[in-house]
């Protein structure tokens, strides 16, 4: 930002402040997660100690061992992975197909359809009507109740539509002149070129699915159907009523405290995202940029 050379004293002070501020901010943002990580590895006798917990006392991995001795963590992981993969794949498919159709400027009723989709962003039936709809479809207790309702997302469709509309018309026209039919144009030319926006939508949808808990909470009944987030929610919700108990969901021995096991559960639930998101952030950022700047 500044040209090489003259930096006033004020500038230097500002820079110092800025860098210091950023360092403090980053440490503060990371500290809560670090706290939890050390808690998950702390021996039971040190767990109730009041402190900053910058390192784990009596460091051990027993909490994790005991967590993985329970079946529920495996089923939760499996369910979460299934709903994320299937949900994301289907969402991308549905969104891209719809966006492709809507990108045809000459499509009859195009404006009407767009309006129908846009309206859903601003108005909905509410919690109870949604619940009753899912119930009426017989999806209660099924993983599909977590996947199907979010398939149609107006944001993703509009985003993808704008992206597709930025392709030059000549691309399609030359293909059609060469004798290709619309199906071939769609799948052989347009879709391969849409990979950037597909990546963006896929990542957004995947994160949303991984983090979703409320739908699981109201639609699922059996413990074996739970997803990770729901498992964490149940454990901590119970904690607010009865802090000494993880018992109903995770069985533990006295070798570990239930606080450290709860912490371990969270670590296990967020590990994939934390490890992966720094490398994928350019896709997320790109999506935000394309979406907000082009409106």
């Amino acid at each position: 930002m500044n040209m090489a050379g003259r930096k006033s004293a004020g500038d230097i002070a500002f820079d110092l402040f800025n860098y210091a501020f950023m360092i403090v901010l980053s440490l503060l943002f990371l500290y809560p997660f670090w706290n939890l990580l050390t808690l998950s590895m702390t021996a039971p006798q040190f767990v109730d100690k009041l402190g900053l917990r910058l390192w784990a006392e009596g460091i051990n991995l027993y909490s994790y061992k005991q967590l993985f001795n329970n079946d529920v963590i495996y089923s939760a992981y499996t369910n979460t992975i299934i709903r994320t993969v299937v949900g994301t794949a289907l969402t991308v498919l549905v969104s891209m197909c719809a966006a492709f159709a809507l990108s045809r400027r000459d499509l009859p009723f195009r404006n009407g359809v767009t309006l129908i989709m846009l309206f859903t962003i601003f108005f909905s039936g509410g919690l109870i009507p949604m619940y009753m709809t899912v119930k009426w479809l017989g999806l209660i207790g099924s993983l599909w109740s977590l996947i199907l309702p979010s398939l149609a997302n107006a944001w993703y469709i509009i985003l993808a539509r704008n992206f597709l509309m930025s392709f030059p018309k000549e691309l399609e026209e030359s293909a059609l002149i060469d004798g290709a039919n619309p199906v071939q144009v769609a799948f052989r030319i347009i879709f391969p070129l849409s990979m950037p926006i597909v990546a963006v939508i896929a990542l957004w949808a995947a994160v949303a699915h991984w983090n979703a808990w409320f739908d699981a909470m109201i639609y699922l009944r059996e413990k074996s159907d739970y997803v990770l987030q729901l498992l964490v929610q149940k454990i901590f919700n119970q904690d607010r009523l009865d802090p000494t108990n993880t018992g109903t969901y995770i069985q533990i021995t006295s070798q570990v405290s239930n606080q450290s096991v709860k912490a371990a559960t969270i670590i296990v639930a967020i590990a994939p995202i934390v490890l992966v998101y720094p490398f994928l952030q350019k896709y997320f950022v790109k999506g935000v940029m394309v979406g907000s700047l082009k409106g």
Binding site: M1, F29, L36, P129, V274, S292
Partner: protein, 317 residues
């Protein structure tokens, strides 16, 4: 098209049908691509809207939606007269207002600060850390906060005691709870929120800064007269959207952090709708409250957009 019209006139119906068929055929493929999305919207967005009729009926499971007796605006009358309702409305507006007050400027400030960092590597690392909380659900974040704010074990109370203060029950004390909500909301959203502004800043014409520097403008002045005004369009859009969402005080966050001790300040419309509807099965009543909320939100967004459009050209539609 003219030719086709002439043909139609001469050959009568047969050609008209052919024209319609050709039209459908031409666009048929595209409609097919639209179909899955439209079906999903129909089933999961519009069918539930029909369920809004529940707000006007005394739902009996045995009679189903259609068979249940009509009660008109009974539920609306009920909740407007209900003391609790005004409490939750007040809480909703206060919490949303505070989120807006602190949560709206924070990403802008952060973006401006990020922009001033010269080391790209440092900037990238700081940014990545800043939006880590955005990728966590409130279930996770509240679990983390439960630990941090714990009266017996928590780091925050440790620091407070270190400085000679008394233990604070952050999550059980109505006086502190809303503050916890606001601060943690900023924690979760400031990093990600700054991404949009940074993108907008990156799009500003660098020549403006050049000439300003030549004219002797300080960094602060550059920010004030170049950067900020360029951000006004995007700020306006985001502000309108935030206003539209003022009836949502953040269900996920509140639900995972609240408890009966703080209902007085923390119970908002969405949490009330959830408890009344799914826990107490007052389906009609809950739907009525939810409907009220959605209608108000819709009116708010439309009004905000209209007002903004009157004063300048930026709006959502």
């Amino acid at each position: 098209m003219n030719d086709a019209a002439l043909h139609a006139k001469w050959n009568g119906e047969k050609t008209s049908r052919k024209r319609l068929g050709a039209r459908l055929g031409k666009y048929g493929f595209y409609y097919l691509m639209l179909a899955p999305a439209l079906i999903c919207f129909l089933i999961f967005s519009y069918v539930p809207m029909y369920g809004i009729v529940l707000a006007f009926k005394n739902y009996r499971f045995a009679d189903g939606i259609l068979g249940s007796p009509w009660v008109g605006f009974e539920y609306f009358k009920q909740f407007f007269n209900d003391l609790f309702f005004w409490r939750i409305l007040r809480n909703t507006l206060i919490i949303s207002g505070l989120h807006l007050l602190f949560g709206f400027p924070a990403p802008i400030v952060l973006a401006l600060l990020f922009n001033e960092l010269t080391s790209r590597r440092f900037k990238k690392i700081a940014q990545t850390i800043s939006y880590l909380p955005h990728f966590m659900s409130w279930v996770i974040l509240s679990g983390i906060m439960l630990e941090l704010l714990s009266p017996s074990r928590g780091a925050l109370n440790y620091v407070i005691r270190l400085f000679g203060g008394h233990t604070v029950h952050f999550l059980a004390d109505p006086g502190y709870f809303v503050g916890v909500l606001v601060v943690s909301h900023v924690w979760q959203s400031v990093g990600w929120g700054s991404v949009v502004y940074l993108a907008a800043i990156a799009g500003i014409d660098q020549d403006q800064y050049e000439s300003a520097r030549i004219d002797g403008a300080s960094r602060l002045q550059q920010m004030r007269y170049i950067t900020l005004p360029s951000l006004v369009p995007i700020m306006t859009v985001l502000f309108i959207l935030s206003l539209g969402g003022i009836m949502n005080a953040g269900f996920d966050q509140i639900f995972n952090l609240y408890n009966p001790a703080v209902y007085r300040v923390a119970d908002v419309i969405d949490t009330y709708v959830y408890r009344a509807g799914l826990l107490e099965t007052k389906y009609g009543f809950s739907t009525a409250v939810g409907l009220f909320k959605n209608v108000v939100a819709l009116v708010l967004v439309a009004s905000a957009n209209y007002i903004v459009k009157r004063f300048n050209e930026y709006g959502i539609w």
